[in-house]
């Protein structure tokens, strides 16, 4: 049976001579794409323009379908872009902030007028308050808010939640095992956020000093716009997560703080903005510049 993977059966007919002095394919391609430095392009050109084999190769490659991106590569590239985009219209951030501020002023003016008419000595503006969340509240599935809140990039499950760890199921009094976490992450990965929140909440109650359940509960709650509960749980997560998850916990906590107009939101964003090497620094700096009511 011939070995499909052996290269030894490929031999040129006897007497046929092939040059080995051609530049590597990568250089030839780069030369064609005009992305080489001047010196290197000159070297490649001095050969390729006079070599039948190189000309043939470059020309024939154009006839082959171009290799495309795989789903895994697409996901990895997206993962490197933990972007947050406000739900602004085509005018961009500035349009949304100006319009929002103008609308707030109009509403406030109307309320003030009404109150002055009905209770001239007690005119005040009704301001909605954010109630303090109970401990480890489970998110009720709220519909996506049409307001201009920053969208959240979903935090990927930890890489050490491997099938091997799931099977091993090592016991630890203060941390859930991978096996215990798996159902919650299964729901999370399937975007079944109500179920994911319920499961993470149970784990958080069972392991009150473990950061992972609080972190992912908080992120799930942000994804369903349960921002107040998210802030509570992400604040707790930041206290208990491992160093590897600290950066993410700080970031999501800052988002929750901004969404709920928490007094320390600006400070949290500023801290991340100033963190050299943080993957969230740039976004934090941009979010920090978005004015919010306080």
């Amino acid at each position: 049976m011939p070995d499909l993977y052996s290269n030894e059966s490929d031999t040129l007919p006897a007497g046929v001579y092939s040059s080995q002095a051609c530049p590597p394919l990568a250089l030839l391609r780069a030369w064609k794409e005009d992305v080489l430095t001047a010196d290197l392009a000159r070297d490649v050109a001095s050969h390729a323009e006079n070599c039948t084999l190189c000309s043939m190769l470059v020309s024939d490659l154009e006839h082959l379908p171009q290799p495309g991106i795989t789903a895994a590569e697409r996901a990895r590239i997206r993962q490197k872009l933990p972007l947050i985009a406000p739900t602004a219209r085509a005018g961009g951030w500035r349009w949304y902030t100006v319009a929002g501020a103008a609308a707030a002023l109009v509403i406030a003016g109307v309320l003030l007028t009404i109150n002055q008419t009905e209770h001239p000595r007690q005119a005040h503006i009704d301001v909605p308050t954010v109630s303090e969340p109970a401990q480890t509240q489970t998110a009720s599935p709220l519909p996506p808010s049409p307001s201009a809140e920053p969208k959240v990039a979903k935090l990927e499950p930890p890489v050490d939640l491997s099938p091997a760890l799931v099977l091993r199921g090592e016991a630890n009094a203060s941390e859930p095992t991978a096996q215990q976490l798996a159902p919650a992450f299964d729901a999370y990965s399937r975007n079944d956020y109500p179920l994911a929140a319920q499961r993470f909440s149970q784990l958080a109650k069972q392991f009150p000093r473990s950061g992972t359940p609080f972190l992912y509960l908080g992120v799930t709650q942000l994804l369903t716009n349960n921002n107040a509960d998210a802030l509570f749980n992400l604040t707790r997560a930041e206290q208990f997560v491992s160093p590897a998850q600290k950066e993410a916990a700080s970031w999501y906590r800052a988002i929750a703080a901004q969404r709920t107009d928490a007094p320390n939101a600006s400070e949290l964003l500023h801290t991340i903005c100033g963190r050299n090497g943080s993957r969230y620094a740039q976004q934090a700096c941009q979010l920090e510049q978005m004015p919010y009511s306080n």
């Binding site: 080995q20 992305v35 084999l53 043939m56 006839h63 991106i69 490197k80 085509a90």
Partner: protein, 174 residues
């Protein structure tokens, strides 16, 4: 001006094309992946100054600049670590008493571009079948098939009589 809200749509629409353009320029998938993510991060940072009608040309321009940066760094490293870079790219070989491969390829009309690509990558670039598959998007089995068929055609070309063939060429691979 592109709203940041449109960014995800732009990413989904253009990431494949940007990756392909980048891969053509650098020939390494992992490098193409890095550069593609840099391109979209740059788009995100520049979202307020870019208009929709500038896409995808703007993306391709940024990708090629990043590819040029990659090759510039590669060349600098090569220059400092290996002084023989220039000498590795030699002039095409002069006439040789044996049959030049490029001449044989040119004389074999039934060969299609895919056969020639596989043959050149195998016997000139020295790639394995796996490497050829990686560079062309073919499967290893396809590469093997194309090589075998191409070699068969080359042998038939050598065996077929031509009025101007030298005795040496006629006796080759008899």
């Amino acid at each position: 001006m592109i709203s940041l809200d449109e960014f995800n749509g732009i990413y989904d629409q253009h990431v494949d094309a940007v990756f392909r353009v980048t891969l053509r320029a650098v020939s390494r998938r992992e490098i193409a992946e890095e550069i593609t993510s840099e391109v979209f991060l740059t788009l995100y940072q520049s979202a307020e100054t870019i208009t929709r009608d500038q896409l995808p040309a703007w993306l391709f321009t940024v990708a090629k600049r990043r590819a040029a940066d990659y090759w510039r760094r590669w060349y600098l490293e090569q220059r400092w670590t290996d002084d023989t870079v220039e000498s590795e790219i030699a002039a095409p070989s002069q006439s040789h008493p044996e049959i030049p491969f490029d001449d044989l390829l040119a004389r074999c009309p039934p060969l299609k571009p895919v056969h020639r690509v596989c043959l050149i990558l195998r016997f000139v670039q020295g790639m394995t079948r796996e490497e050829i598959a990686g560079q062309t998007g073919l499967t290893e089995l396809q590469v093997k098939g194309h090589l075998q068929y191409g070699l068969k055609l080359l042998r038939e070309t050598l065996a077929s009589p031509r009025p101007n063939l030298s005795a040496q060429e006629l006796s080759a691979d008899a």
